[in-house]
């Protein structure tokens, strides 16, 4: 009998749990237990629509416990705090310390033993990295459904002031020089522009996209080359065209140093410092690992052995420090297995990337200003499934069964910025890229040109709506869920 513990019930952890339970069979002796501090699942990409009031929180979340009960998956509403990968004085099996946040046991702790562990704890939203950033400071966020609900409320107030004839400055972007998730900020600025137009107040609003990207269209993936009508074009031109058409201003290569009431302060790559007054600001935080500790059997601290300084967990990546010119697709992990422990995996945002994808840059003052590498939804789901398949094989065929592989240098990603509630009047800017990590040994432009594209049009809006409903259906483990790809 094997006990599998999965930390985190986001895109990667939930996918891993559902597939593992399906493969092992409901009535099997093996246990699958999910540990997550939140009682609800959130389809995070649709938080963008919550953030402009097009959807409510109930449209993007649902309770996890009934799904897990139906599927025979154990659920602890708790947060993991420490790992004991070599066991402790009482038991040589690996263990994880958790602290309950619900189920009537809030604040109590438990040590859960495991045979296999998946760390899918996603990001810590590090608002504290920038003074004044975030909902507890002076700016808004759309990272959680609650943050997005607050952003929508503030946007409505801003639109009311515009209706009353006032001029307003709205800033959307990245709240630190090392942020990731530029795609989400791009989606949000696209939606805000749409809302302002729908309300008939766009002419009185200044809309600014403030980003750590050195050029538009970088998206944390070093930009993309597209092929269109016999020419190679770039994601930079595509994004610049969209911004010019919609009257969105762009401030590039910016590291936000602090946010004060109505003013965002930032440094640019040339080393200059600036301030921008705003009436509405949605600025994403940088991400870090959730801060798990690790101990050996004697209680010695081995956190450094399992985790990078960023708090993300080390896996089978090549972490050798090397210059941008020497980065290779092979640096990226394939099995997500933690070095030294072939029963521990880290998937989704929780794994430590070997380096950025975008070229690293520092300002003239030495401040790092470069996007961190994104770990988007599709790769996160695939990694979760990959770890689940490896664990299944090892439970069934022995601990030496070959690990399944899925590198971000082979996987694609989709980013759809879609606005409007109506099937006929919505609009969208949709991108696909393949692979996420460019591989110049396989493709002259780093990526497969047949699969890497940017498109603008109504169809992207239908795609986004379709994905919203399909992924909620899948996450609820409803009929045929397993046939919906990650």
């Amino acid at each position: 009998m094997a006990d599998v513990v999965i930390l985190g019930a986001g895109i990667s952890g939930h996918t891993a749990a559902l597939h593992l339970r399906r493969k092992l069979g409901r009535g099997s002796e093996h246990t699958v237990t999910v540990v997550s501090p939140n009682s609800k699942w959130n389809w995070i990409p649709s938080n963008i629509w919550v953030g402009v009031g097009k959807m409510g929180k109930p449209d993007v979340v649902f309770p996890l416990e009934p799904v897990y009960r139906k599927k025979g998956i154990g659920f602890r509403q708790a947060k993991a705090v420490a790992l004991w990968p070599e066991g402790d004085a009482d038991d040589p099996r690996g263990a994880v310390d958790v602290e309950y946040t619900g189920q009537g046991r809030a604040g109590t702790t438990e040590r859960i033993r495991y045979d296999y562990l998946v760390n899918a704890t996603g990001p810590k939203l590090r608002f504290e990295a920038t003074p004044g950033l975030g909902p507890d400071g002076h700016s808004l966020s759309v990272c959680t459904a609650d943050h997005a609900t607050e952003a929508a409320r503030s946007l409505t107030e801003t639109i009311e002031r515009l209706r009353a004839g006032e001029e307003q400055t709205l800033v959307v972007g990245m709240g630190h020089g090392t942020c990731t998730c530029e795609g989400a900020a791009f989606e949000y600025v696209f939606n805000v522009d749409h809302e302002l137009r729908e309300a008939g107040v766009r002419d009185r609003a200044r809309l600014v996209y403030l980003t750590n990207e050195e050029r538009l269209g970088d998206f944390g993936v070093d930009g993309m080359t597209f092929e269109e009508q016999g020419f190679q074009t770039s994601s930079e031109m595509w994004t610049a065209s969209l911004f010019r058409e919609r009257g969105v201003e762009a401030i590039l290569g910016a590291h936000v140093t602090k946010v004060e009431e109505g003013v965002v302060h930032y440094e640019t790559l040339d080393g200059e410092f600036h301030a921008l007054a705003f009436d509405f600001a949605m600025l994403l935080p940088p991400f870090g690992g959730v801060g798990l500790a690790a101990y050996d059997a004697e209680g010695g601290d081995i956190t450094d052995r399992l985790f990078a300084p960023s708090g993300f967990m080390k896996v089978d990546a090549d972490y050798t420090a090397k210059p941008y010119e020497e980065w290779r697709a092979q640096d990226w992990p394939e099995t997500y297995q933690t070095p030294g422990y072939d029963n521990i995996f880290a998937v989704g945002i929780a794994f430590a990337p070997p380096h950025q994808i975008s070229r690293p840059r520092t300002s003239a003052n030495g401040t790092p200003i470069a996007p961190a590498p994104p770990r988007t939804g599709m790769p996160s789901g695939v990694m979760g499934k990959t770890a689940a398949m490896t664990i299944y094989d090892r439970i069934k065929h022995g601990a030496h069964a070959e690990a399944h592989r899925a590198s971000m240098a082979h996987m694609g990603a989709a980013c759809v910025a879609s606005a409007g509630a109506d099937l006929r009047t919505g609009s969208a800017a949709a991108m696909t890229m393949m692979p996420v990590v460019p591989d110049y040994a396989r493709y002259p432009t780093g990526r497969d040109l047949a699969a890497t594209r940017g498109e603008i049009g109504l169809s992207g809006h239908w795609v986004k709506l379709m994905l919203h409903h399909l992924f909620l259906h899948k996450a609820k483990a409803r009929l045929g869920w397993q046939f919906i790809p990650e």
């Binding site: 600014v208 200059e272 169809s459």
Partner: protein
Amino acid sequence: MTDKTPAAGGPVADLSTAPLPTEDTLRKRRSIPLQLARFAAYNARIMRMVIKGH
């Protein structure tokens, strides 16, 4: 050094040379039959990524 005119907000990228869509392009982006074809193409591309990348 902090810019003394916060409302201007510092350096804004010059997008004046970025291509603007023509009327025909704008019409195509809204055309239901054409967008139905694009919808099918987009889904085919995602399925291709799924098959090749998973």
